[in-house]
């Protein structure tokens, strides 16, 4: 497929420039620096299972928004969730780090397993769950404070950091989000002065700073221009070498460009879930076929 070559596009030169690379980088940066391993998953290739849902049902009051979804999300892959507005894909995404708890009147049934352990069990530690399963939202929403303080916000919730520890986290996270070179001289300026695309990468950096294992992205590019969108997509492909990424998107091209597997949601049901190439080229279900060809939605 022609599109696959674009997903293998080399990572931004400023990241691969070894002169810029700090010593003692964490694994994920090293992985991100290796452009040879960023291709999409091929049929038959299976990464470790990261998240599994079993008969997941989510209700808003009496309305059943998610109607029994069974799905397996794998480590070091990008999973795209597509479907028309109101199909429940965002609701599903928020159930993976229990952000639905913040919406009054929601009720969740079934199972969500993270590394085989239920995250719906009573007594689940939401703080540690959300540190393991980070989230980036639709609109870039940095805190109204400096770039630096945005990045250390998460780590500082858990522990007092020395100046050097904080500096190190800031640099590592901003490099991880491909933002370091643009902002390294302005770390103490307000994050609100950045462009929309930079703000969104800052939000990704902020999430990376707490060291997540899974990154949930809820339409992260819908408020961005094409150039900024392209940079985020590049970044996702770099990051998947270390994390599982789940992205909700309305953009068919985005799903086909970046993701390894795609799930198609319709009216609260997961209609089809397969390798992205399969979903876009030869889907089993005719509703999927109609949707990816742009016939409704």
């Amino acid at each position: 497929m022609e599109k696959d070559t674009t997903t293998q596009a080399p990572i931004t030169p400023d990241i691969t420039d070894s002169a810029e690379r700090p010593t003692g980088d964490p694994d994920f940066l090293q992985a991100a620096l290796d452009p040879g391993r960023t291709g999409p998953v091929q049929s038959g290739e299976e990464h470790r299972v990261k998240i599994e849902t079993r008969d997941l049902r989510i209700f808003y009051g009496d309305f059943e928004a998610i109607k029994g979804v069974d799905v397996t999300l794998r480590d070091r892959e990008i999973t795209a969730l597509i479907g028309p507005s109101g199909c429940g894909k965002s609701t599903f995404l928020r159930s993976l780090n229990r952000m639905n708890d913040e919406i009054a009147g929601t009720r969740t049934e079934g199972q969500v397993l993270l590394d085989g352990e239920s995250i719906l069990a009573p007594g689940t530690d939401l703080v540690s769950l959300r540190r393991r399963v980070g989230m980036v939202f639709q609109h870039p929403n940095p805190f109204p404070m400096s770039i630096y303080n945005n990045v250390v916000y998460g780590p500082r919730l858990q522990a007092r950091l020395s100046r050097t520890e904080a500096d190190e986290i800031v640099e590592r996270s901003l490099r991880g989000a491909a933002l370091w070179d643009e902002v390294k001289d302005d770390l103490h300026k307000s994050a609100l002065d950045l462009s929309g695309g930079q703000q969104q990468r800052l939000c990704i950096a902020r999430t990376l700073a707490v060291g997540p294992e899974v990154l949930l992205m809820d339409e992260p590019c819908s408020a961005l221009d094409p150039t900024a969108t392209f940079r985020i997509e590049e970044l996702m492909i770099e990051l998947k070498e270390h994390l599982a990424i789940v992205i909700v998107t309305h953009n068919m091209y985005q799903a086909s460009r970046v993701s390894d597997r795609t799930g198609f949601f319709l009216l609260g049901e997961l209609v089809e879930f397969d390798l992205t190439t399969k979903i876009f080229e030869d889907p089993e279900d005719e509703r999927t076929d109609a949707y990816v060809r742009g016939r409704f939605g």
Binding site: R131, G134, F137, N141, M145, Y153, L157, C203, T207
Partner: protein, 299 residues
């Protein structure tokens, strides 16, 4: 023909709205000049330093003394005390209403707090004078009489509360939900989210709320007139809170009736009015500037 009528009509409506808008500004300017004109005899005959820093307010003695320091300090004590009580209480109430209370409790609480503003100040003064003050005097040996500065503070705090709660709550509510969710998604507890993300984001609005509460407290007259004892003495130290004082506002209210028209005493009371006008105008302007800045921050 019909088109023409409607154009005249449009023009008329526009002018009417314009006049209504300008009228507010004109009235404020007129009030300022009215106060200034009636203060001129005093400002001409007495040095400003003697007025503001003079330690004696004896308007009917010969020669009269118009030292406003006891009154200024009286207002300062009562207002500062009111803010010490009402700001923590008000901000905490606003946080509870905006963030913690279940939706149904919120629907009841906010109007309930705002309803406090509907209690006439004379009724509050009456309660302070008849119930709260005597109770304090009976219960604490350090409080000789049931009218003292801190009692005014308590009653004023109660009056400033609706202003502070209502504007704080608006400020907290206007913080984008996504910001709060981002904080929670980074593994913050609810309390951490409130103190580290929500309050800093709403900071300007909270400061403005407190300043408007201050403006409300410093201008209040009837309640403080009734409960603070009306002794124009300079309050000293912390004990000053437990002794009678007299505020700028209460002085005008208490003495305007007995001051002879166009006497020096009469004009001196206008000078107090001018001072109050300048203070509240400054406080409100600062609050307004801060609110405007906060709107820009959030956008």
């Amino acid at each position: 023909m019909k088109k023409r009528v409607s154009r005249v009509w449009e023009w008329g409506i526009e002018r009417l709205i314009q006049i209504a808008g300008i009228l507010g500004i004109i009235l404020v300017i007129l009030i300022f000049f009215f106060l200034l004109r009636n203060s001129l005899p005093i400002l001409r005959d007495f040095a400003l330093a003697d007025l503001l820093a003079g330690r004696e307010w004896r308007p009917v003695r010969e020669p009269p003394r118009f030292g406003m320091l006891p009154l200024i300090l009286g207002s300062l004590y009562v207002t500062a005390g009111a803010l010490v009580i009402s700001i923590p209480l008000g901000v905490a109430t606003a946080i509870f209403i905006a963030e913690i209370a279940p939706p149904r409790a919120r629907e009841i609480l906010k109007p309930a707090v705002e309803l406090i503003a509907a209690v006439p100040s004379v009724v509050l003064g009456f309660i302070g004078l008849m119930v709260v003050g005597p109770w304090f005097a009976r219960s604490f040996d350090d409080i000789p009489v049931g009218s003292f500065a801190a009692l005014g503070s308590i009653m004023l705090a109660f009056m400033a509360l609706p202003t502070i709660v209502s504007i704080c709550e608006d400020a907290l509510y206007s913080v984008p939900r996504a910001l709060v969710n981002s904080s929670l998604a980074l593994g913050a507890t609810r309390w951490q989210t409130i103190t580290r993300a929500l309050l800093p984001a709403a900071r300007s609005g909270l400061i403005a709320a407190c300043l408007l509460g201050l403006g409300r407290a410093i201008g209040e007259t009837m309640t403080v007139l009734m409960v603070t004892g009306n002794a124009a003495v300079i309050p000293r130290g912390l004990m000053g809170f437990l002794r009678p004082v007299r505020t700028l506002t209460a002085t005008i209210a208490a003495e305007m009736g007995e001051a002879a028209q166009r006497s020096e005493h009469f004009f001196a009371l206008f000078t107090i009015g001018l001072l109050l006008f300048v203070i509240t105008f400054a406080v409100n302007t600062i609050a307004d500037l801060i609110i405007r800045r906060s709107e820009k921050d959030i956008a």
